[in-house]
Symmetry: C2
Subunit: 359 residues, 2 copies
């Protein structure tokens, strides 16, 4: 069955009837030594993975998370609890292995790529030589989207391409599942603005505390998002996804959108992390609704708008552990669960092979 | 700090003030490079693990799940969708590595012990020679608890001891966290009867479909549980936990209760699986309320009474994936998350060490 043992992504050359294949996968799952359906979502995940990989034995041994970083002009409006320099400081932390995402990916055997999609920093040569670091800076941070569009059309295209490139690299390297994460002080503001514009939330519904702003700053953040979406909405261009991404998005958000879009066309499963990457998914689904087929939502973040955003996208996350750090930390916890589900389909005995009586 | 690097369980010889130590652990967590609290429950789990192990660097590298099996006399009442012989057939499946618990534990680097606490089967020599198999049969299945107490006082004591022994073995082997799981056709009936008796649920509230009984069999199952609890309640002995465990429990359930009780006295973290092991925990907490301090509830099972039981015990599970297989499968998914949380405390950089600006 597996015509793609090496890459795990390329469609096999012979034509597979999707409905017939889906039935084959379900039949295989139902012969396993357990009451039918008793592994719940693990069974559904395994079946989806098999369908995406078009393989009755889906494989997720090779896993990678891409952490995209970008700086945000809108931080000039006082929307974050942390100074903007933290974005570049955290890039060093990702490379030196001390961040939460490093701990969680080492634990789970997941590779990490760190991609500068638009950080306001000049990198030392040491960092530029790091094999896991991708210097793909589109610009040294977005413009302040309360005043003007965050990026130009060309910059937005370039940022989408930064994310697409990572999928091509992943497929070439034999990666079987990719996760997305981000770092960008100010990016909950960009994500909130995107979901106000694309999912019709009010600013109050869409704005949360991010890294932890106080009550006063929260009121200001709501005002900034509300005002920005009103302004850019006056001459809303089409297509909507691209328009809003460029007006109120971020370079790291656009890169994540690019990753999702390219993963969909390459049939590579993508694990979405928290609020920011879900906003990137909302943009991707606006641009190409079928992209949702390769997406797995890892967790419901503690950022207050995330649950609503997931619901609006009809996305059911795997767990809710009250996390709100980003970086891909939720994706890192979800990937081993996804791999476990795939192994259920690959490795479990059947009633026949184990000689077990049936109901 | 770590005076127990090898076993990870024994209390250090010097006296540690619990409140002062708890503060030390929280301080350590709050210096990590993330907004305070932004890893949500991972932070709380890590702190609990540190407190249980009395170690600022909690370690869960060595993990084991004990799968206890037992047969149930109450199956004579037609309470299960599967024939009772499946219990012994599944023991072979556990040993040959084809069951769901084998797949999930191999995936996560967890050892498995399979313990016959009271299976109605005569084992072949081959099985008895398996190093991972423990032949600790108290009796070839419980008595039908609708007619008489499921076990005698002596049998119940012996089954508790079967579970205690596994903790002593684990500690001697340097295991740092233990999980419990079970196999026993008919044991959702025993678990339901226990929670009716101990947590004051009605039989309707406490009874679910188990491996998958139909509507008619469900009505019968409710009747059996209701009637059995009424009968044994007429001369309810004390202590309550032991009384009900012996009247309506099972050998594998009593063994799990024993594991929890012994783990509490050895300060070994225990991961609870689904509905049956939660019923065993309810008995353990009735017998010794402090036992809850070492317990981690892995998941909310799809068995309809499990959510209520967890709520009644004020236990918050890590996830809800609609699973209802037992065997320790939920515990196997939870253990890597617990280990990840411990590594956050051990491995993450601090604001100072990474040179990151603060809020």
């Amino acid at each position: 069955m597996n015509t793609n043992a090496t890459s795990g992504q390329k469609a096999p050359t012979q034509k597979i009837d999707p409905a017939a294949f889906a039935q084959q996968v379900r039949n295989k799952m139902d012969r396993k030594t357990k009451p039918p359906g008793s592994l719940g979502r693990l069974e559904q995940l395994a079946i989806r993975l098999a369908e995406i990989q078009q393989d009755l034995n889906p494989k997720l041994a090779r896993k990678r998370i891409c952490v995209y970083a970008g700086s945000h002009g809108v931080t000039a409006e006082g929307v974050s609890a942390y100074p903007t320099v933290v974005t570049s400081q955290m890039v060093f932390n990702f490379i030196s292995g001390g961040a939460a995402i490093n701990v969680l990916t080492r634990h789970a055997g997941i590779e990490v790529h760190v991609i500068d999609a638009g950080v306001d920093a000049v990198w030392p040569d040491d960092l530029l030589k790091e094999p896991r670091f991708y210097n793909r800076k589109v610009r040294a941070g977005t413009r302040n989207f309360l005043q003007e569009p965050a990026m130009t059309r060309q910059e937005c295209e370039a940022a989408l391409e930064v994310g697409r490139e990572q999928v091509r690299l992943a497929v070439a390297d034999g990666i079987q599942i990719i996760g997305i994460g981000e770092m960008g002080i100010g990016n909950t503001s960009a994500a909130s603005a995107l979901i106000v514009a694309l999912l019709n939330f009010t600013a109050e519904e869409a704005v949360g505390r991010g890294t932890g702003v106080n009550d006063e700053a929260l009121v200001n953040k709501v005002r900034v998002i509300s005002e920005a979406v009103r302004k850019h909405g006056e001459r809303a261009g089409k297509p909507r996804g691209e328009y809003w991404l460029r007006c109120v998005g971020g370079y790291e958000i656009a890169a994540m959108t690019g990753t999702i879009l390219e993963a969909a066309s390459q049939r590579l499963p993508v694990v979405i992390d928290g609020f920011i990457s879900t906003a990137a998914a909302a943009v991707a689904f606006e641009m190409q609704p079928e992209a949702r087929e390769v997406c797995f939502f890892s967790h419901r973040s503690d950022e207050q708008a995330h649950g609503k955003t997931l619901a609006a996208l009809a996305a059911e996350p795997l767990f809710d552990l009250g996390m709100r750090l980003g970086e891909g930390t939720g994706a890192a916890l979800a990937m081993p669960v996804l791999e476990a589900s795939a192994k259920i389909l690959c490795e479990m005995a059947t009633f026949d092979s184990a000689g077990i009586s049936e109901a």
